[in-house]
Symmetry: C2
Subunit: 333 residues, 2 copies
């Protein structure tokens, strides 16, 4: 075990897009294991669009403040424990942030089954997969034959939403940036169609890909794409509000669809937000189903892994710029 | 029976606020009763904020076009009938527009019980009351102890929503324009509190009137008031989207709350639109309950009646300017 704890410190909220220089590398001593605490060494660090939202203010959780070790979801290994129920070698998930080591209260940790692939633990079998599962099934409530549209379709949540919707007997349409990603969604992940939001004819292509309208729109982005999706919704449709990454970089007043709220009335739409943490009581069931689909090959878990804690700032920038495919994680050795 | 059919013709969509000069008075012959048709003489004409929306484009129904007799919901008396099931003297509701007489297919008419007060037939026992009933109970789904906030609270739908929410054991807070209306809501209609959206401290007063936050916001207006209500919502709250009168006059891009859709995620809100016509199959049940509450005095049916078809344009202008209290109707003799 090293005696150095490498950390990335969040120094300031970015003016617009995140740049690597808002993070500062620091080295601290490995913390002592406090009374009742567990010392965890980070093995995988999850990078998520929500990381950007945390820099803007309070969301469903506390804001990340200048001087903080950058917040992040992690899979780690217990190195030492002063808490009953945890011992060295246990794999745990937590919010241990962008650093090698953290000594934390056991209440913030969840033990994971060491028999599973850690890359699945941080993706399809954790927040990412559960977000897709509860958002689609509990908020969207698909019926076979529904057209399910998902934005950021090539991203961590989007890749799973599309595959789950297909399992549920739906026609699946993805929105992604660039022809390459769109081709990949159809060829590799079984989407029925994919639409490039960067193309000039985006709105027209979207309508063409959803000829009878959209029953469920799983919204990861908000902004102009939400506006286009609202125009394509069918009467009685549902909009699953999962995130609004389009607005995270905007300094002042973000764009909001001028169709709201009138279109909700005219088309009798339900637009509903959710936070996956609210479904914690049903985690075991959801995780078991997701694991079954991954094992059977019905769902492909796409991961985009970067090696080395040093790469975390650059990897977050790439993620927020749409450069990833599937779940983005940093592997730390 | 007169041999003249007075009509108000819609001549053009207004640039901003509706002015009386967009309507043109015409006299036509009383129409013949076509084969299979029913000739109806209008007794009461309903004026509704939705009338303004119909001038902007297609909504849940067809747009009103220049040259049309202005569209409107009516209570009338059958004068002559070539359709089985209808005879002279029957009271019927329909969409017969701003005119004395219309000869229409019976499918567009609903027979009404002549034992009921026609002013209730056009208000609390018709679209207005049913809108409040289904919007509150089917979309909002109140639980005793909930705080229910309603905008345009002194209007036709708002006055009923507030009273129904009180019956359901909720704390009721109205939003209305001016101190007089607000006082009236509390003193006469039993609202627990009312907030003046024209006052400088509107947002502060709204928070003070809803100290533990808003569980259900019944939105009749959209715009800036929706934005303020979203800020006051409790986690897990519901926004009932009934109308967006704040946007009806806006020529270009209407204001849309910049909090959307992010706030729906952070607070796990459900925002859902509805059209009362979708609940037609349950009308008898809903109407019976509303009638019972009106008869027992549990719900006061507030009507603002204007006499004379000539007054219709000015009355619509007053309605859209917030000058009415309760259901606005034109009585035609």
């Amino acid at each position: 075990m090293s005696d150095v704890n490498r950390q990335w410190i969040f120094t300031r909220a970015p003016d617009g897009a995140v740049t690597p220089d808002i993070f500062e590398r620091r080295e601290a001593p490995v913390p002592d294991v406090g009374p009742g605490e567990v010392l965890v060494r980070t093995r995988l660090l999850s990078l998520d669009p929500a990381n950007r939202a945390w820099m803007r203010g309070r969301t469903y959780r506390e804001q990340v403040m200048p001087g903080d070790v950058m917040h992040g979801f992690t899979i780690g290994e217990v190195v030492a424990s002063n808490a009953s129920g945890f011992e060295a070698g246990d794999l745990v998930e937590g919010m241990n942030g962008w650093q090698d080591y953290a000594s934390v209260k056991p209440g913030s940790l969840t033990k994971r089954d060491a028999g599973r692939d850690p890359l699945h633990m941080i993706g399809v079998l954790s927040i990412t997969g559960l977000t897709a599962y509860h958002g689609l099934f509990d908020i969207g409530r698909p019926v076979p034959g529904d057209t399910v549209l998902v934005s950021a379709a090539a991203g961590a949540v989007g890749t799973i939403v599309g595959q789950l919707a297909r399992l549920a007997g739906c026609r699946t349409v993805g929105i992604a940036g660039g022809a390459d990603k769109c081709d990949w969604l159809v060829r590799e992940l079984g989407f029925d169609a994919a639409v490039d939001y960067k193309a000039a004819d985006f709105r027209k292509s979207l309508r063409a890909a959803c000829p009878s309208g959209v029953d469920i729109y799983f919204d990861n982005v908000g902004g102009q794409i939400l506006d286009a999706a609202l125009a394509a919704m069918k009467i009685g449709g549902r909009v699953v509000c999962c995130g609004a990454v389009a607005n995270y970089d905007v300094g002042t007043v973000p764009y909001s669809s001028p169709a709201l709220p009138g279109v909700l009335v005219a088309k009798r739409l339900r637009m509903e937000g959710f936070i996956v943490l609210d479904y914690a009581a049903r985690r075991a069931e959801a995780e078991q189903r997701l694991a079954g689909w991954v094992e059977s090959g019905a769902v492909r878990a796409i991961v985009d892994v970067v090696d080395g804690l040093e790469q975390a700032p650059a990897a977050l920038v790439r993620l927020l710029d749409g450069g990833n495919r599937g779940k983005m994680a940093v592997r730390i050795s």
